[in-house]
């Protein structure tokens, strides 16, 4: 049974109405182009998992249904179709594999609580979803002194649409580190909404690699609500063909907060004439006791550097690839979890890294 998108969106947990370009948050979104498309609800998924994950702890979801999972008792789990709840009481590394059927509409929500002093390492892999429309909402609560290292890899089908919202609440002295890779998919929208309380810290990093006519949007709202909180938002984009990237970062430093540190940076590499970047770094400051900075750069590959590499016998194609890797290497180096990094490098393959 197929439904028009507006009908599905109205029933979804993420939208109370159909957003328009008049709303700042949706200004650069191509969502309107999909409103006359039809998608199917997938009530029951195929249960076969072709390749079972090799990691120690994992959850396998298809079209928002948990097919199989392997977790220790220290993680309390509840799941229904399209929802998953995790409550972590001990340090753990969990891999979430999310795949999607052709032309499916999936509205999935995950709630995570990380208990005091617990470190959760979470890896999301989004795959499949030919002509699918995916809504994914993560609500995460870090209790005092909790840590979350999260890696999200969007490697969907080239015709998939995915809107992923991350709402992260950081209690005192907690730490959140995220790395998002937006690689494939026709339109990928990765939202972050982060509330920082006393002495908490957030490092939110994204790497957007777009080609053909893809559109990838990285939106990041950071709210400094307590003293001595720290945030670092960094995004890099490598934009090819006629694709477009949007980086919309907004950091709010509220009144009366003290000793806040906030940085925002966006760096784009445009590889073709028709490639586009919209970068909007934005700081809202209502306090005097802070250190904050923001910056945005847009550039092309350095012809002089290509020429130098070629003068040593390296082909132009290889030289360009080396310089693109050089551009993104530092951001990849920032991934602490070696397992996550290995997956990322495998996903990037020879062409990108």
């Amino acid at each position: 049974m197929f439904y028009l998108l507006p009908e599905l969106l109205r029933q979804s947990s993420m939208f109370s109405h159909i957003p328009t370009k008049k709303e700042e948050k949706w200004r650069f979104s191509p969502l309107g182009e999909y409103l006359n498309r039809e998608y199917k609800k997938v009530p029951l998924a195929h249960k076969d998992i072709l390749d079972k994950p090799k990691e120690e702890y994992w959850i396998y979801l298809r079209d928002g249904h948990v097919l199989e999972l392997k977790l220790p008792p220290s993680v309390h789990v509840k799941h229904t179709p399209f929802t998953l709840e995790l409550n972590c009481f001990e340090d753990i590394d969990i891999y979430l594999y999310l795949d999607y059927s052709t032309q499916s509409f999936v509205d999935f929500r995950i709630n995570i609580i990380i208990q005091e002093h617990v470190h959760l390492s979470l890896y999301y892999s989004y795959e499949g979803g030919e002509k699918a429309f995916i809504l994914h909402s993560s609500h995460i609560k870090l209790e005092p002194y909790a840590r979350l290292s999260q890696t999200q890899v969007h490697n969907l089908s080239t015709q998939a649409v995915s809107i992923v919202e991350n709402r992260v609440h950081l209690d005192k002295n907690s730490f959140f580190k995220n790395f998002s890779l937006l690689k494939e998919g026709e339109y990928i929208h990765n939202f972050f909404h982060t509330d920082l309380h006393y002495q908490s810290e957030a490092e939110i990093t994204s790497l957007l690699l777009t080609h053909q006519r893809q559109k990838s949007i990285f939106s990041c709202d950071v709210n400094h609500l307590g003293d001595r909180s720290t945030s670092q938002v960094l995004s890099k984009q490598v934009i090819r063909d006629k694709s477009t990237c949007v980086v919309d970062a907004n950091t709010l430093i509220t009144e009366k907060t003290k000793a806040t540190e906030a940085t925002q940076a966006s760096h784009a590499l445009l590889l073709d004439e028709d490639a586009h970047i919209h970068s909007k770094p934005h700081l809202q400051i209502y306090s005097d006791d802070l250190s904050a900075s923001h910056g945005s750069t847009v550039g092309e590959l350095d012809q002089e550097a290509i020429s130098y590499l070629c003068s040593r016998g390296i082909s132009e194609e290889k030289a360009r690839s080396m310089l693109i890797s050089a551009f993104i290497n530092d951001i990849l180096e920032s991934i602490d979890d070696t397992g996550h990094k290995e997956h990322i490098l495998k996903t990037l393959g020879e062409d990108d890294a």
Binding site: S307, C310, S311, R312, G313, I314, S315, K318, M322, A326
Partner: protein, 247 residues
């Protein structure tokens, strides 16, 4: 090895070299001297196939038409240019760059790529010879290198790639005496019957360590006077104006 006839070169749409002739045989060391802006660097860039240059005329290298080859094809054929100001490339690790360059050249020539062990052996040997600090291998290419380190890095690349025609653009500029000796040692280690050099320098001091076979004076994009090592000494003593006015 290299025959240049009636070469015209433009750089940024400006005519820099006009009707230049030069013949370099295997094993010879040619030195090109001249005032600033006379076209010395442009000549080397044109031979190396830099994207900045547009060349017209005849440039044959082992009977191949050099002008029809791209920069990387020329490098694969054995042409190496050391730059006056080697560019810094953040994020490109020096050891990775060296290995990629060597193996890309070998593969293009139909040879097997060098194994990690053999490659590292070659690198260590050359680094010891040049007395280069091994830490540069793990650093980004030329990033944060001192002037001397950059020049030594160029010589290291030259020794690893083992080219047949070596173009050195002011390799001696900004070097202290020890670094100069080290660079000269590297150059002389490759000197032989099969390898030729075209060296640009402003000073005679490098030539005390690397005696040239020919010295040419370039003026307004043309070789206006050629001689042996004594010409460089004469230039140092009298200056360009006096030497050229007696031509």
């Amino acid at each position: 090895m290299l025959k240049i006839k009636n070469l015209d070169v433009q750089i940024a749409d400006k005519d820099v070299i006009h009707g230049l002739d030069l013949d370099v045989k295997a094993g010879e060391v040619h030195v090109v001297m001249g005032l600033n802006g006379t076209g010395k660097s442009t000549l080397l860039k044109a031979i190396a196939g830099s994207y900045e240059t547009k060349s017209k005329g005849i440039m044959e290298y082992f009977d191949k038409d050099l002008l029809s080859l791209s920069a990387n094809e020329r490098a694969t054929e054995g042409i190496f240019m050391s730059f006056q100001n080697p560019i810094e490339i953040p994020g490109v690790n020096t050891i990775y760059f060296l290995r990629t360059a060597l193996n890309e050249q070998r593969i293009s020539r139909g040879e097997k790529s060098l194994s990690s062990v053999d490659f590292m052996k070659r690198v260590q040997e050359k680094m010891n010879f040049l007395e280069i600090d091994k830490s540069i291998l793990q650093r980004s290419l030329n990033v944060g290198f001192s002037g001397g380190e950059k020049k030594k890095s160029e010589i290291l690349q030259m020794m690893i790639l083992e080219p047949r025609l070596i173009l050195l653009d002011e390799i001696d500029s900004g070097l202290d005496i020890d670094a100069l000796k080290s660079v000269a040692k590297g150059i002389n280690s490759l000197r032989g019957k099969q390898t030729s050099f075209i060296i640009i320098t402003h000073y005679n001091r490098l030539l005390e360590y690397v005696p040239p076979d020919f010295v040419h004076i370039l003026d307004h994009g043309k070789i206006v006077k050629s001689g042996n090592a004594s010409l460089a000494k004469e230039l140092e003593e009298k200056g360009y104006e006096d030497v050229l006015s007696s031509t």
